[in-house]
Structure formats: structure tokens, C-alpha cells
Amino acid sequence: MQTLIIESEPLSPSVEKTGKKKLVLVGNPNVGKSLFFNHFSGLYVDVSNFPGTTVEITEGNYKNFRVIDTPGIYGVSSFNDEERVARDEVLSADIVLNVIDATNLERDLFLTLQLIDMQFPMVVALNMMDALEEAGMEIDVERLSEILGVPIVKVTAIKKHGFDELEKALENATVGNADKTLLHELEPIVARLKQTLNPIADAVMILEGDETVAERHGIAPEDKREEIYVARRNRVNEIVSEVVREKSAMKVGAVISEKLGKWTINPISGIPILILALWLIYEVVGVMVAQRVVGHTEVELGNKLFEPFVKHLFATITPVEISVDVLNGEEVIETKSFAFPEGTSRDKAQFDEFKAFIEGKDVMQNFAFSQETLWGKIVTIFAGEFGAFTMTVTYLAFLLLPLVIGFYMFLAILEDCGYLPRLATMVDRLFTGIGLNGRAVIPIILGFGCVTMATVTTRLLQTSREKTIAASILNFAIPCSAQLAVITALLTKAGGFYTLVFFFIILSCLVAIGTIVDKILPGKSSALLIDLPPMRLPRASNVLKKTWIKTKSFMQEATPWFFIGALLISVMQVTGLLEGWVKLFEPITTHWLQLPAESARAFVMGMVRRDFGAAGLYELNLTPQQIVVSLTVITLFVPCIASLMVLIKERGIREAMTIWAGSWLFAFSVGGIVALII
């Protein structure tokens, strides 16, 4: 048995590389694992995508440990992307900190026993001791620790109880009491392994039939999973019946949580709860953030302060005409143009006059850089209407950032209180018809905020097939918040009947897209199988941390694509390609859609930012029928350039371009048919 002892191993590769041991946090979903990670790593963490997947791994530092947070899993295996990522992080661990929910030992100990069978030096954190009390239960912790053979620390993570003891226990991490029969079966496999960090852990994976791990060692996987799982399940049940005692009846808190949990699933009470939640999101993110905050930051800070500042830098040496709108509230009360044929620095007198004119007034400055020289074109690319240094910065910092923070905060609250899996259960039926399951409700709802962000969130779906279907629905048929305001305004003009017609068209298209993609793609989507955690109050620290981590990682990922997108569009603008595109679509717009020629421009502009498209329509004088047709087209039309870029990254260039090109075709086909009918 000598070969089976892990401590006799030389320094592990991860230690050699960084001089730090790798501490991996492992636990079932919703056991409060992130609170432990927060405690150990503080605020400064790295979020990265695991190579080859889109699952996020968070990493931080604590003393001489690299602390790795893994996605919540029910066992180490490879049923989905998250499990595969967690598996590889676990297999390379020097020490494992296994967080378990004291109120749910029967579920959580399954993973614990597996980790013990894999012979990692580990510590078990028995979390939610307060909830255990509420539930009227008691655990014989000493006995449990004796059976498992590893240190167990009682923790109430929300109240920060038990962290000191946990830190001490980490120094005494031990390898627990594995299943003797299993260890015996592992021996022949261990003998055949290549050099690896944790031979027994790898051998367990191979015996349980994990193909990837087996392939790494060049041997065939075994097929003992079910047998091992049944044995492990039986041991868990034995342990639970030995150490858990029902002490008293459930306390009020636990009863309320159970009742509330029930109400959220039952449609009769669940639908009003959902409506309430959506209304709250709409009021806070849609009205407060999108209209008030963004209205202020985008216009006041972005358009009036930041952009003119950048543009003036370029204007000093570039021929430009600056037209100034003097504003009184929303209204333009005076307009005056100043021409600087050789840049503002060469014409002091004119520039002084300009400065005197805007002095003390609320103004919007519009810069038209001369495009006669190559320099002028370059300036337009970087600081023009869609300039990478102007529009993109305003868009990212003053419009997108507040919105993304708002949405992620709500997502974190809903996630933290245990509502999302229940919502997924309630709406599951609606999604099975279009090749998805209830989990897809989250990206779809987020889509009404920002399709780019929602496309990133399709990661939480379990199979590539479902991700494709959800990404298609999002990018074809969901209007994002940038459009919603203009759509609402135009529909008010069109009246109630046409509003209903519009909703009917878009809903049919959404269902049609889902059904068609579901039919085309080979295979079958997975049915819902989801564990419902108890409802509880969201914890502020957790919500803030999650919001911060998610926002940071989204902004990091999306920012380069927004810049690239802006560069592309600006180049198209200065080379005349954009205008050419508008011209190309004019005949289709006037003849096939029966809309004024100018709406072609609005559609093409929608490629850049979806609200550009929608706002362009607002200026035109359209009949109610034309409003329905044009709104149908812009809603079904291609996603904005940033969404497209993220879509390429998430789903690959082939799928992204299929969706993008398909949107042109679909939007104009459906638009034309609607124009013919109404």
C-alpha cells in the first residue's frame, strides 16, 4: 500500500511553479461557498475562463495558498461543462476545502465521500449551522469527523462564525477514511498511471468511467460508476442516520422559507410573484438606472463633457466645422456654426468667439471633421460620430456600465435567495416546446436588458445544443432595453390594436425560431433536473461581491469587442460603404416593406447600436401599419455589433454569421409579409 500514500509525493507541480499550494474550494451549488472564498481571498480576485470552455474560475490569494473557487457540483464527474472544469481544478488540488450544508447532509456527503475516496488532504466546513438549529436538527460532529477521518469545522458563514477555527484546521488537513474495497480495486489502475499529481484521484475517476482522465493516461475507462455510486449512496445514508437527529419541530423561519418556496413554484401564486419580481427589476433597472442614471451620465458626462473634450484635442489640428446647439432642457433654442478650415489652433479669433458663445450655456457640440484628407478620415474613425475614443467610451462607461451593474445586482439577489431554480421549474413547460428547459428563462429575461450580456449568460445552459437555441432566440427575436424605450413610444402612437398585433408577431417569431432551430439541430435537449435550495434572505456582502465580479468580468470581456465594432463601422462610414449599404436597401424598404426610403438608414444603423435604428424611425412620420412593419423589422433585425462580436466568441464564427445573415433575411421576409397582410 506504500504507493497509495500521497504525502510521500515530491513537491507537486503547482507548488514548484508558484511556490504556493493550491487550495481548491469544492461544494454543492448553494452551500454558501462564495462566502468562504470571499473570506480567504478578500476583494482582489481574478476571474478567468477555463481554457476551452466558458465556465468561470475565480482565483485569489490567502497566506501561502492560491485559492481556487470552483462551480457548484454534486459530484466529481463530467456530466456538463461546469463539472468538467471543476473536475480538473479538483484533480490538481494540493488541499481541498469541502463546504457542506449542514441541513442537507444527505445530498452533500455524497461529494464529500467521493473526495475522501480520492484521498485528498482535506478539511470539511459544516456551514449553515444556524439554519440547522432553525430546522430543529442536530448533528454529532465529533462522530462524523471520526467516521470520515478528516477535520470538520462548524461554520455559520453569513455571521462569520467559525472562520478562525477553519483557518487553523487548514494546517491540519488530512486524508480521510476511504472505502477499503474501492481502494483495493484502485491498485491495479494506479500501477498503470502516468506521472500525475494525485494518482488515486485519477484512478477513482477512471474506475468511475471518466473518459477524459482515462485518455490522459492512455488507458480505457472502466464502467463501475453505478456500482460505486450505489455503494457510496448507501454509506451516506448510514452515516446520516447515525449522526443526524431531529431535535424539535421546525422553527418559524424554516417554516416560512418552506412555504415561500412552495408559493414560488405553484403557478397560481408563482405568476404574481414573478410579475412582482419583473416589475421591481423594471422599476429599478429600467426606470431608475436606464432612464434617470443613464440619461444623466450618457448625455451630461458623455455627450456634453467627455466627447467634446476628446474631439477638441483632435480639432486643434484638423479642419472641422463645429455646430453648437444651445439647449433649454430638451429643447434647442439656438444653433450656430463655427468653421475652422485649418483646425482650431490656427484661428485664434474664431476660437475665442466660439468659446465666448458657449460660455455659461447648456450646449451640445456637433463636430464635422473634414474628410478630404486621409488624416481627416483617421480622425473621424477615432473621434467621429461612431469614434472609438468617443462614442465607444461614452457607450461603455456611461451607458452600459450602469445598466450591467443594475442587471447583475438583481441576478445576484435572485440567485442568492434561491429563487432562480424555482422560477426555472415554474416556467419549464413554456420552454420545452422550443427545445429548451426552464433554465433558459434567465438568459431570455436578461436579453430584454442587454442581448450582449444575455448571450454571455447562455453559458449556464447545460448542452451546446441548448446554448445555440437560446443564442438564436436572443439574437433574432428579443428586443433589448436600448430599443424598448423607442418601441414603447412608437407603439403608443400606433394604438392598442396595433400594439397587440406587434406582440403577436414577435411572439410567433420567437416560438418559430426556437422550434425551427430545435428541429434542425441533431439530438435532443436535456430535460429539467434541478435541485431546489431553500429560500432565504439574500446576503448583502455576497450580492455586492457577485455583482462586482460579474460586472468586472463582463466589461473586461466585452470592451475590446465594442472597440473593434466601432472601428469597423467608422471605417465603413469614411469609406462610403455604410452609405452604399443604405442605398442597397432603399428599394427593398420602399417597395417590399412599403416604408419611406429614410427608414433604410435607420435599419442599417441598427447594426451599430440597436437604439440608433429605433431612434431613426421615431423621426419619420409613419402610419400605424408602417410602425408595426418597421418595428417588426428592427426587432428581428441583426444584433448590435457588440452582440455579434460576443456571439462569435461564445458560439463560433460559423454559428454567429449564420444567425447574423439569417437575421437580415428573416427580418425583411417577415416585415414584407406583415406589410402585405395588414
Binding site: E106, R225, R233, G261, T425, A527, L528, L529, L532, P534
Partner: protein, 82 residues
Amino acid sequence: MQSVQSNLISLRAVKKGERFIVRQIDDKDMRTQLLRFGLAEGSEAMCFERLPFGPVVVKHRRQEVAIGEELTKKIWVEVIAN
């Protein structure tokens, strides 16, 4: 599909509030996944909630698991008296 004993009904047909013993699960992947949730062939559970044409929520000790309609057709249970 495997043969099913005559006293068994599919989870699809269990009424809300009824207690039952899981006797047979016809899908290998689901069998292993449910094992991890604590629901094995032989374990006792209760139908906690069922949605019209939708998932069935099963409660097993303190654990609630929502099982999509497709999967409920593959789980065979024996209803027991309360």
C-alpha cells in the same frame, strides 16, 4: 424500455401529496444523477408539487428536486399509504 411491474406507476401519474418508493429508473444518466441528489431506487419520497403538463417536484427529507416532464415518464414508483 424495460419491463415494469404491474403495481408500479410512473412519477408522471403520482398525485400531489402522495408518498412513494422509487422502484425503477429507466435512464442510466438520470439514475446516477439522482443517486447524487439522494434519490435512489428504493428511497422514499413525496410528491411536493406538480405543475400542469410540467415538472414534478419531489421532496426527499429536506431536499426538493424538480424533475422535467420527459424524465418523470422514466421513473417508476410504488405509492404507499400515508
